[in-house]
Amino acid sequence: MEWLQNPLIMAGVAIGIALGGILTTCAYLILLERKLSAWMQDRLGPNRVGPMGLLQPLADGAKLMLKEDVIPGHVNKFLFVLGPAISVFTTMLAFAVVPFGPVSHEKGQFPFVIAPGVDLGIVFIFAVTSLAVYSIILGGWASNNKYSALGSLRASAQVVSYEIPLGMSVVGLALLHSSMSLEKILINQAEMGFLGWNIWYQPVACLIFFTAALAESNRLPFDLTECEQELVGGFHTEYSAMKWAMFFLGEYTHVITISFLTSVLFFGGWHFPFIAEAASAYPGAWVVKVGVLLFKVSCMIVLIQMLRWTIPRFRFDQLMSLAWKGLIPMATVNVLIVMCVLEFNLPRLWLLPLSLLLFVGVGLIGTQASLPASGAVRRKKPVGPIVAAAHH
């Protein structure tokens, strides 16, 4: 087994497993989403292809592959093709530093992460996913279509805004664990046991992270970029067949990455009391650990999909004020709380009541600020300039 020592072999195997897993999961996530929505709306959902509709993803895939791939004559061809490619590339690349099992740095062992030992960890993910907005902007602009352009304009404003709370929500974690590396944060939580999960210390950060990450992935309730009622299809109005599917491949990969990140950062990763502790080394422990992590990830994915069919879409000004007036101040105060607790050497469990207090405070301020009285003043704004602009 000398050849197993070569670092390229195990990296290659990890890439193969991660990619294969993600692509298969994406296909079945679509089926799950349709089944879930059918269940929530008291319908049957897809049930024709295979037993209980289980072969539906294969049929969908074959349809998307074989469909005529239309490139309209009025588009900018190069950027039109580049858009979906960037979408898949960036979301897949972000998965490189996400651990999907008990990470091992020993030579010849399966590493359970594509790029082990990346010190940047979460910063790398933010950097790569911040490039994903190019796919939407380029796709929308190159389509040479008003609906697409409007969709991509909305996307750029939304993604740039939500990157700030996303980044600030993990600053508290970095301070607590004195590291940004996902592997280190995971192993720290596992060694501290069930009460070491970050959700006990940073519940508000978890909420901010989850919300902002959901907004970054452009899914409902944040899918103003494709908003069917207003924009036909938004940035992907002109796309068809596999190129259209690649946008959605990117979106579902993003959902998987979010679920992994939330589980690893806030819910202890593969750690679970009694069955998957940091010290447990019984035969087959790694299977249990991977199973625990995948279970947590599936719970997050189901939660995200249920949210889609539960919460209606935001209005654009609500979307912006949620980020700028709600999440960003909340994340800032959260970082401040963590800094105070660390500076004065208070017990870490103080973070839980303080975070809950912060949440209640923000909720109170948020509801008081949007009382009808303040809204009425805003509505008095003269509409003159808008009417005048319509005549030009």
Binding site: S130, L138, W141, A149, S152, S156, E163
Partner: protein
């Protein structure tokens, strides 16, 4: 005049560069693409004679050439492109190439931060503005460069200053007291002595560091920013805060009827 002649290895390629960029800047009619690219290529090749990094293994060298060529080419394409959307995209390419250079120089945090801030936010905002402003197609000031001669001369003056300083950093042997340089060319690694004694920036001597291996890690960056360069960082933070307040003060109010 003599001191100028001493720097001929800098000035001549820069002059070639001026000519190349001047020929490529957008104007009415055809642009001499081939002549300009020949000029630019010879200028770059001339400069590489003095500014080549020390040769390491072929992977590093190859990556350096790929990223450096990408950065220079994208930079030229950015300023000579007449379509502003493409220019913004080339700017994103410049940023990504430079981030690649940061990565191979063991500065991953700098690379990631630059991608987040520049490629992820600033260029996106540029595109946003351009798409909103460009609905009527290309305008006259897109098709023609404004004062191409002055602009190229001013740009290359800046480049000349940068290269002159860089040459002082890398070209001359740097002597750190009490330590013999290990490699014959300690290029682009240690700042010269008069920089080290600058009261505003006090990098700690290497031997005082608690652990030697934090070069390029997040801990190293944090310790350097909030230990060695605390004064400069706080100053920059204050300037940014003032700029933010200024931007808020300048922006029109809702009550004034705009927006």
């Amino acid at each position: 005049m003599n001191s100028l002649l001493e720097q001929i290895h800098l000035l001549a390629p820069l002059a070639l560069g001026i000519i190349a960029v001047w020929m490529l800047l957008p104007r009415e009619g055809a642009r001499p693409w081939i002549l300009a690219s020949l000029c630019g290529l010879s200028a770059v090749l001339w400069l590489t004679k003095n500014f080549l990094p020390p040769a390491e293994d072929w992977v590093q060298t190859g990556m350096f050439y790929a990223f450096a060529a990408g950065a220079v080419l994208s930079g030229v394409m950015m300023i000579t492109e007449s379509n502003p959307v493409y220019a913004a995209l080339w700017f994103a390419m410049v940023t990504l190439s430079v981030c690649g250079l940061f990565l191979i120089n063991a500065a991953p945090f700098l690379a990631a931060a630059t991608v987040v801030v520049y490629a992820g936010a600033i260029v996106v905002t540029f595109l946003f503005v351009i798409m909103l402003a460009q609905q009527g197609g290309a305008t006259g000031y897109d098709r023609k460069a404004f004062q191409p001669t002055l602009a190229s001369i001013a740009g290359f003056m800046l480049l000349a200053c940068l290269l002159f300083t860089l040459q002082e950093w890398g070209g001359k042997a740097v002597v750190v007291e009490g330590e013999e340089p290990k490699t014959p060319r300690p290029q682009f690694v240690l700042p010269p002595a008069h920089m080290v004694t600058n009261p505003l920036s006090h990098p700690m001597p290497r031997s005082d560091r608690p652990d030697q291996n934090d070069l390029g890690t997040l801990q190293g960056v944090g310790r350097s920013l909030f230990g060695d360069y605390l004064f400069a960082v706080e100053l920059a933070g204050t300037v940014l805060l003032i700029a933010t307040i200024g931007a808020i003060a300048l922006s029109p109010r809702r009550s004034q009827g705009t927006l």
